[in-house]
Symmetry: C2
Subunit: 301 residues, 2 copies
């Protein structure tokens, strides 16, 4: 998995800080998570092959998380897109996008498929051989979901030296990659573990923004490899969290610690602070493996 | 008048080219004309004191002319705006903006006043001591208006040396600036022209984008000081104009020539061309005073 941050600052877009949007690449999938104003420019800036995006996940309908979506949908049309585009987001998103397109008499010439969300329990949104995507219900001022991306185990890797030595026929390779034993001409079997290497361990990524401190998400994000958790404020502004339903860096770190995640990426910073390093310092008092999101930064998971 | 181009390229926003938006400053007014995605970032980049904007004019509801509006309206709220904001644009704009705000539970805490347009004749939108603003009905794929800004004559300027020499009392100054003669203590009158200088000649600016070649606008824009006219294409692509209802640089120049305007500013360039200088070269074959709009460029009118 490779995560690229297109924008990770709260509130309004500014010259050098963009509102929330991320790209997650998992084998043959390229997912877009949130789409603040300017996302399509960020996609170009960081040379993401964005025609490959087939699924867009929108956490909630505050402008800094979705005002870039109508423009991106229009741009796909101008670029001659033909493939389906799936949009997952809160109920109302279809009406909003449809109205904006209708006003401009700008229907898409590709299938635009909305999956509107309103459940307050975790839901499976998407599943195939490679990945599953579930919602993570969050606690914000409006209906909001995070998203949990869980990679499925890849096929086992053939040990070419071993299959050659045992003269295993190519017709068996797919079965062996999927766990079968090798069959010799004389009827003997060779154990699968002697013909294959372990595949890479499947990875998982949880995106949680925007949200107040919310322990009910812990079972869902337990032991994920990487957790992106918003940290709009520092503890010095924790009073603002109650009113705005945001979290502090320390609270994000507490969630990471209690969920026993591999590492924590912080983001959605208020621009009131002089340096985002302050968020890292505060979080590391609670949890050791903290990274700072920043616009244009990529993470290998 | 001072015109600042925030964006002047057609279709999609890119890293270095922005969709349509302009700021027009006329004495105490700061008008925003169109508001493509990213306009609020451009306003910051070019250090426009955008809290001073009270009137926003939207030509039509294609994304590249208004997808930045919901974000700008939200940002005004986050910045604590209290003053009225007037939005002039095609019918439907109120429903669109209202729906987007409602979905995010993000009502403005300042008065947001929509003036929806649907007339196909020119209308007076705004008038005060300084300025009048009229629509210029255009010919595009959807209902579209350009906007005509006409400055009113400023008060005459006092000739301080003359009023001092004649010992004119200060109480008369306002009347004299408005054209009255001066009255001496002995009852004699001093002619107004002997006490004042001429004020600057009132200026006018016409914004015409997006539109096909359309001679019906000529009476409205006749002899304006500056005409901004779209030139999406060059003559080599004139066939595309019919389908898309855009204009070529040559057509823009023909309109400028027939309307006897002072100068022509070209913009709304398709990004298919290597250099925007090509637009100027083509237009100058028809009309001599041609300027090229570009993002961040300012023009004194």
């Amino acid at each position: 998995m490779r995560l690229t941050i297109l924008g990770c600052y709260s509130a309004t877009p500014r010259t050098f800080t963009n509102p929330t949007s991320q790209v997650l690449e998992i084998r043959n999938h390229l997912f877009l998570i949130d789409c603040g104003e300017g996302t399509q420019v960020q996609l170009r800036k960081y040379k993401v092959k964005f025609s490959r995006i087939k699924h867009i996940f929108i956490s909630h309908l505050h402008g800094d998380h979705f005002f870039g979506l109508p423009g991106l949908i229009s741009t796909f049309r101008l670029l001659g897109r033909e493939n389906e585009l799936h949009i997952y987001g809160p109920k109302g998103i279809k009406e909003a996008v449809t109205l904006l397109l209708k006003l401009g008499d700008s229907w898409t010439n590709y299938p635009l498929i909305f999956h509107e969300l309103e459940s307050k329990s975790s839901q499976l949104l998407l599943e195939d051989d490679v990945i599953s995507v579930h919602t993570i219900p969050l606690d914000h001022r409006v209906y909001t979901n995070g998203f949990l991306f869980k990679e499925k185990p890849a096929p086992r890797k053939l040990d070419i030296t071993a299959v050659t030595r045992h003269k295993i026929d190519r017709s068996q390779f797919n079965n062996i990659k999927n766990g079968a034993n090798g069959l010799l001409e004389n009827g003997d079997e060779i154990d699968n573990v002697d013909l294959t290497h372990n595949p890479p361990t499947p990875k998982s990524y949880a995106f949680c923004s925007d949200t107040a401190y919310n322990e009910t998400i812990l079972p869902l994000i337990s032991k994920v490899d990487v957790l992106y958790h918003e940290s709009t404020f520092l503890e010095s502004e924790s009073k603002l969290c109650k009113k705005t339903k945001h979290a502090t860096a320390k609270q994000a770190a507490s969630i990471a610690k209690k969920a026993e995640v591999g590492s924590l990426i912080l983001g959605h910073y208020s621009t009131r602070y002089k340096s985002i390093e302050l968020f890292k310092e505060e979080a590391m008092e609670v949890f050791p493996d903290v990274e700072l999101a920043d616009d244009g930064k990529s993470f290998e998971i």
